[in-house]
């Protein structure tokens, strides 16, 4: 697929999700929490107005799907941004200063990589107590390594180049070189990673909801819907299929955006 198409399709879908999340109350045909046991597990289109059917408590699947974008996007943006901030900072420091800073960060990354990430996130959320904040913290604590590893390698490469040396000869301090010279050159890679990380964060939130550890069951989330759908899969496949499809498209969109950005920025990276 051509690179511009990737960026437009991926970015366009994410923009669409942002709009859905913002205008959820206007778009949703029903209250996502409203139960109607008379209309429970109705197939799509059977009950009037329930276009995507209802779940086991008679709640409208479409409305829950629409409200679910709010949690998904909140986690995607907040968790990915914080993981990016933490990982990039540590990666820059490790790549630039080398020595014991590098040794410590690298060892920490090694230790982190020896944990299955899903298990670690479940354990962290169990420790912190279920809830949106815990989910975000868990994602940040686990996924900063993705940024740190790449940024460290990239910084090492950049710091060896002549411009860094020139800046040093001109009397710039380490902090200024890192901030004004190295960081702008590392930024393209970080941007690509950030886009990919947003997709990963949405998945992790869904997994935690699936295991029953994310936000409270009163708040509609795609993962929570998927968990319920898995249990009543033989009675009502639509409870699983729509949130799963939404998750699929969202992850794909963040990935296409990231890949498109990578191709677009590649000439600048000179690799």
């Amino acid at each position: 697929m051509p690179r511009d198409l990737r960026i437009w399709l991926g970015g366009g879908f994410i923009l669409f999700l942002i709009l859905v999340a913002m205008f959820a109350p206007l778009l949703a045909p029903f209250d996502p929490l409203e139960q109607d046991l008379m209309a429970a597990t109705a197939a799509p289109g059977v009950e009037p107005g329930h276009w995507l059917g209802t779940d086991s408590l008679g709640r409208d699947v479409l409305s829950r799907l629409i409200y679910g974008t709010r949690i998904a996007l909140t986690v995607a943006f907040v968790a990915a941004a914080l993981a990016c901030l933490l990982g990039t900072t540590l990666g820059l420091l490790a790549g630039y200063y080398r020595g014991w800073v590098d040794a410590m960060v690298s060892r920490l990354v090694d230790i982190w990589m020896a944990f299955p990430p899903v298990l670690l996130s479940i354990l962290l959320v169990a420790v912190l107590g279920a809830g949106l904040t815990s989910v975000i913290i868990a994602i940040v604590v686990i996924d900063w390594t993705r940024f740190a590893r790449v940024v460290r390698a990239e910084t090492q490469q950049q710091a060896r180049l002549e411009y860094a040396e020139a800046a040093s000869a001109l009397g710039m301090g380490h902090g200024a070189i890192l901030w004004r010279e190295v960081l702008p050159n590392v930024l393209p890679v970080v941007l690509v990673l950030l886009s990919l990380e947003m997709g990963i964060a949405v998945i992790v939130e869904a997994i935690l909801s699936f295991v029953g550890l994310s936000v409270s069951t009163d708040t509609p989330t795609w993962g929570g819907m998927i968990a319920e759908g898995r249990q009543i899969i033989y009675q009502a496949w639509w409870v699983l299929v729509f949130p799963l499809g939404a998750l699929f498209l969202t992850v794909l969109a963040f990935n296409q955006l990231g890949d498109g950005l990578r191709q677009w920025l590649d000439p600048m990276l000179k690799r």
Binding site: M1, R107, I111, L119, I203, L252
Partner: protein, 335 residues
């Protein structure tokens, strides 16, 4: 490889393992909720509770608890599971074979599938076949095992029910095996019907795990093969009249395999990490599923044991890949 490199790698692995132990221990200690309160019988006295606390060593200061636990682990004692009232080692030994067989089966599928993708798209390079495979590969790579697993459950388990979506084998078949290595022992004892049943149960979870890995292998292998295909010795082989299939398999694939192998190893650890949620979705009785139960039950000794098991597996895989890469690359072997 020089002995000093091997030694420093091993030392580094041990340090990492120690770090893993510290992290696990600290994490598990700050879990809110008293595990003791879940195991006391109604009407237990304060003295009973204190005795139980002392029995599990929960009354000591935290660094002493770590020291006690650390010494026990070195002696091969991981304690007793609080929720299952059994030795942690015994429980893990019971469940680990299921996970190992699943992960290795998935790895084999990923290698075959990835190799196939690479061969077909290299053979038909520049045509619509290559573009179609590239696009499909992109989707396989972007979508994680969690989504694949649920999609397979939905499509091949429920809508078109062709494969089982839960458990490890049909409970009505009693194969009377001595070990938990169902496939290995089943094959050794020639119980092919049973092995077939186990394989059918494994197919969907293994596919979910294998898809992203197959995409990675396919992409790397294809890119390296494309580079190889323009080399002089390929042209020479073609002039000598070798068939294009033979050139692809004998020359291109062989030379492209080593770089793909190193990456496969790293990605294999991701696959093992993926077993946690995949086993959950398929109610597969391995250590991943067990680990989620352990966290939900706040079973501290079992959580510690399981995370440590995963850590050891990851480190072993990484070291094995390092060794294999060096062994396959003569330049590194004689360094």
């Amino acid at each position: 490889m020089p002995l000093s490199i091997i030694l420093s790698r091993a030392l580094s692995a041990l340090l990492t393992l120690f770090g893993v132990m510290v992290v696990v221990f600290v994490l598990v200690r700050v879990v809110p909720g008293d595990p003791i309160s879940m195991m006391i019988a109604p009407g237990a006295t304060d003295a009973d509770i204190a005795a139980l606390r002392a029995h599990y060593g929960l009354d000591l200061p935290i660094w002493q608890q770590f020291w006690v636990w650390f010494k026990q682990v070195l002696q091969g004692n991981l304690g007793t599971s609080i929720s299952m009232k059994q030795g942690v080692i015994t429980i893990i030994a019971q469940r680990l074979p299921a996970t190992l067989e699943l992960a290795i089966f998935a790895l084999i599928m990923a290698v075959i599938w990835g190799g196939f993708i690479a061969l077909v798209s290299t053979a038909w390079r520049g045509t619509w076949v290559e573009r179609a495979i590239d696009n499909f590969n992109g989707i396989m790579l972007a979508v994680p095992d969690f989504i694949w697993a649920l999609t397979f459950v939905l499509v091949l388990g429920v809508l078109v029910p062709v494969l089982p979506i839960s458990g490890r084998s049909d409970p009505s078949i009693d194969a009377g095996l001595a070990t938990q290595f169902y496939i290995l022992e089943g094959l050794a004892r020639a119980k092919f019907a049973f092995v077939w049943d186990v394989l059918k149960h494994m197919l969907l979870p293994a596919c979910a795990l294998a898809f992203p890995l197959a995409a990675v292998i396919g992409r790397v292998l294809k890119n390296t093969m494309m580079d190889v295909m323009v080399q002089d010795y390929i042209t020479l082989a073609r002039i000598k009249g070798l068939s294009s299939i033979r050139i692809l398999l004998q020359e291109a694939l062989r030379n492209a395999a080593v770089p793909a192998l190193a990456l496969t190893g790293v990605q294999f650890t991701f696959l093992i990490g993926g077993t946690v949620i995949t086993e959950r979705i398929f109610s597969y009785p391995g250590i991943g599923n067990l680990a989620i139960d352990a966290v939900i039950n706040r079973d501290l000794p079992l959580i510690q044991g399981l995370v440590l098991t995963f850590g050891i597996i990851f480190i072993i895989v990484n070291m094995a890949v390092d060794a294999l890469t060096v062994w396959l690359n003569p330049r590194l072997r004689h360094a």
